[in-house]
């Protein structure tokens, strides 16, 4: 199997801080597929120009180039149906998609406002001007203004996780006794944060923290090293 995966990388390559790249890395590990990681920086648009868009993850396999983490996950599932399933069944696929939508629309907008300056601090030097300009334009204020007073927004962030707690009160993973795509869709969110920020997002006694630990324990050593910082 020759799979190449373009993944967002920081100044030293040694951390992965895109929730969408995490989803695909976790999906590849779930399926037991080896792959070559190609570290990619924000400003290296030319390296993925063939996709007609400017974001990673981008996956190359068997002469095909795919992008968008959902599209890639479905490709992996359909290409290797005999390997451990990411979705289990059609309903599980709908479940995974809904949880990913929820993370994308609820968790990520809240979290980026906590992490923005931390991300800026760890990205490659050549990415910094681009990152600052594009994000300050998006938020209509400076990076520092976005994250100012962020400690007060940790508790509201924790409250957003209530739907996870309800499920994790009944079972160890969102998908049941073992994790699958719905878990990875949210795990990517937390691994992203952990790779860049010292913020303590989860209280020690939060069931979500225990769930995150279970998922961290399942990571390969290589992946674990990409989220080792906090």
């Amino acid at each position: 199997v020759t799979v190449k995966l373009y993944e967002l990388a920081g100044a030293e390559d040694a951390r992965l801080f895109s929730p969408y790249c995490w989803r695909i890395r976790l999906a590849l590990e779930h399926k037991g597929l080896s792959f070559t990681s190609l570290p990619w920086r924000f400003t290296e648009k030319d390296r993925i120009a063939a996709t007609g868009q400017g974001k990673v993850p981008v996956l190359e396999h068997d002469g095909r180039t795919l992008w968008d983490s959902w599209t890639i996950a479905v490709h992996l599932e359909e290409t290797w149906p005999e390997r451990p399933s990411l979705f289990g069944d059609a309903g599980g696929r709908a479940f995974g998609r809904f949880v990913a939508d929820w993370a994308d629309t609820v968790l990520h907008p809240a979290l980026i406002r906590l992490l923005l300056t931390d991300i800026h601090a760890v990205i490659a030097a050549k990415d910094r001007a681009y990152f600052r300009q594009s994000r300050e334009e998006r938020f209509g204020m400076s990076l520092e203004q976005v994250t100012a007073g962020r400690e007060a927004r940790i508790e509201p962030f924790r409250q957003l996780l209530a739907p996870l707690r309800a499920g994790l009160a009944r079972q160890p993973f969102l998908c049941g006794e073992s994790p699958a795509f719905a878990d990875y869709a949210v795990a990517g969110t937390f691994h992203w944060a952990r790779a860049v920020s010292p913020l303590v997002l989860l209280a020690d006694d939060d069931p979500v923290a225990a769930w995150r630990e279970r998922l961290l324990a399942r990571l390969s050593p290589a992946s674990r090293s990409l989220t080792r910082f906090y």
Copy 2:
């Protein structure tokens, strides 16, 4: 089939304003099961004393008494597996449960703070003192204080629906081409609101509004009459 369903009722019986009762009514209609509705008021705890708890829906079937909307839904699915499935498969069941958890923990806490005085206005006279006292104790303020300035909280409520919009941009129902339990878990939330309140919760051009209309169009005439008010 002899199924009896205790359902929350207002002063005139003619509206149903419990999201959990709605879930079960929608589930029964999905399975094509006829049932006898037993209107129940908040203060009639003695009529459901056998359940050891004080809430509806309560379902009686074949000598058994069941409560908790999720337990009842699973019972319906397992008792009549040959009828249209509420979940489709194991993953669909997990999907339905997650969406119900999300509605319970995110939508309902926001919505009750918009609807509380409207509910008080339509419940049976004998329920009003109980309702006011128990809810004012829960919220630590008067009913009127809870809903004061609610117009300003409609837009934040709409923002909570972002995960639904993502899915409904791709397909007519959360469950795909036709609705199932995950749809009913959220439809119950909106039918509840529509049964008691003139508040316009959804903008006309919101895909969630079009989805709600599709679900309203599928209701039996009897059920439609229970959410006819607004």
